[in-house]
Symmetry: C2
């Protein structure tokens, strides 16, 4: 008898296969602008952008953040990368009986502070308590609603000066050969910080989670214009984002390994731990595909924002019969960057 394993929830191909066969397969079909089947960052229902994220990170508090800031940032980012403005979030708690009230207060204070920092309030929520032992301290599911960004029309007009754009949203199927691929900063920090802190490897003195709401940074990018899609590379990391874009857009990619922003500490930690920094989750980064003519302008905009100052173009989309990511390695070779089967580190978000 098949049983659920950690891999079914860890991003990547095993999870996508599980979701499509055992979850969405049972649901009625619908006719939304961006439906469930798209498995994009958010759905779009009658021009309402709508998303939901469960958070089971362990431990609740970690270098650079906690489950509160993580939940708000993750949900705000899922709305924002659609080319939308988040309006409000909901916060549903599942708490284990026996948890100290002080921990609830600290987490909720962090939720409140993160909401205040990004200007997106909590509008509704729910609280359930389960018996001691039936949850691991506290789980949080945040959902959010948003509306199309007021800068999205301008953004797509700029892109349309250079090529045809098919979607009014920044959806995963919107990348075309020639598009530039930009990441907004260092990759891998969140996963390495979490793993190191949890297991006591000591790298966490150097590496902190990058958790941050990106709605402000993304709005600046849209004001500049020329962005065709965006994604926050959470579970499954950058490798998953790039491969998802290839398969949903029917393209290939050529990525320059040397140009991916990676901290030395992350590279060293990943080598020691035997994990790939491109397959682990980020919580404050956005990957952007834009028309190549606007690449330089967009990088300039990102560099002038505190959350984008290490942004870099890492390669381009190319025409390809098979959807795959070719990595031009540091030593001058080529390899295929496979989609990860799952995030190598469980419960980091």
């Amino acid at each position: 008898m098949t049983k659920i394993t950690m891999n079914h929830g860890s991003g990547g191909e095993v999870m996508q296969d599980f979701i499509s066969k055992h979850v969405t397969a049972h649901f009625p079909k619908m006719n939304f602008s961006v439906p469930l089947d798209a498995l994009d960052d958010s759905a779009v229902v009658d021009d309402i952008v709508f998303t939901s994220d469960g958070h089971t990170v362990k431990p609740l508090f970690f270098p650079g953040g906690d489950i509160g800031s993580l939940s708000v940032a993750g949900t705000v980012n899922d709305i924002s990368v659609m080319g939308a403005t988040p309006l409000a979030i909901s916060c549903a708690l599942i708490i284990e009986a026996g948890l100290e009230m002080d921990i609830v207060d600290r987490v909720m204070r962090s939720v409140g502070e993160t909401c205040a920092s990004c200007g997106v309030p909590v509008a509704t929520g729910d609280t359930k308590v389960v018996d001691a032992g039936a949850a691991d301290q506290l789980y949080m599911v945040t959902s959010a609603v948003g509306k199309r960004s007021p800068y999205m029309d301008h953004n797509l007009e700029v892109a349309s000066q250079y090529r045809k754009v098919d979607s009014k949203w920044a959806t995963d199927n919107n990348v075309r050969p020639g598009d530039s691929i930009i990441v907004s900063g260092y990759i891998g920090d969140h996963g390495v910080a979490l793993l190191s802190f949890r297991e006591g490897y000591g790298f966490e003195s150097e590496i902190k989670s990058d958790v941050a709401p990106l709605n402000g940074l993304i709005a600046e990018g849209l004001k500049t214009g020329g962005i065709v899609t965006m994604k926050d590379p959470t579970r499954g990391g950058l490798a998953n984002t790039l491969n998802e874009w290839c398969s949903k857009s029917g393209i290939g990619m050529e990525i320059r390994e040397n140009d991916i922003p990676l901290r030395d500490g992350v590279v060293n930690a990943c080598e020691m731990l035997g994990i790939d920094p491109l397959s682990i989750g980020n919580e404050g980064k956005v990957v952007i595909a834009c028309v190549p003519e606007m690449e330089e302008e967009i990088l300039k905009t990102l560099h002038s924002h505190p959350l984008g100052k290490n942004a870099a173009c890492i390669g381009h989309a190319v025409a390809s019969d098979v959807p795959r990511v070719i990595m031009m390695t540091a030593v001058g070779g080529k390899r295929i960057l496979e989609p990860p089967t799952g995030d190598p580190v469980p419960r980091i978000c």
Copy 2:
């Protein structure tokens, strides 16, 4: 050091006090039509009706329903009782590693069937897997978005023929002295069915959960007109709903005990178990406050719908210096129906 107890999540006064002091107190204030502070069934953000509900029911399958039908119905109902039409729901899962895939399939099939039956699709979702022992099989958080019902204008116009109506939504603060209080059917079935099934008391052969999406029934009520507010009496039961209305609307109520629809089996079971049927959760019932002039018409409408055929008027709102519910007892006496401190039965939703 204060710790979380089951009562903090069980509806009623302990939970409301906990939420306001340790959860919402930390969140930034906002200026929505129906804000978080209202602690109503849903929030209203820029005319988007938005709600979220966590579900930790134990066991996952019970007489009359399961966590899948319960989640969809509960969330659809929270949108509907605002005077809104649910457009789509999200479904976030937290699954314990080791759970049989067959159980996931059964729950998701139930989600799909319930969605199809009420015409509200799943638009987005998320799946997290936690280690064996870190959750009790499967938890589900459903959120939903909705828009104001197309029948709400007509409904409030009818009410306005008889008295001033202050809100364009069916909010808890909208009841006025003289309003009729209607329940849509038998009270207490869900809680008693769950408790009995779980503990093996045997009443469950007779009593099934009432879990049902009420958007269809509620739309019929709004088409008739004269409804000023609605609520689904879940955690904390009818006693909690009536007391919340009294305190948020600044009124009192006189309720006729004899007129509350209660199955003999529920009364007998509650007597044996020492619990109050008015304090336990329902999952397919709506309590309606309407202008008294429309009471008869609304009852006629409810009676002609399968989910409202046992609807009854149970009393009226009255002017009162203190917000309290006076129960006119079966034997001709009077007592105060206190707000429950919490649902007497844990993990029934």
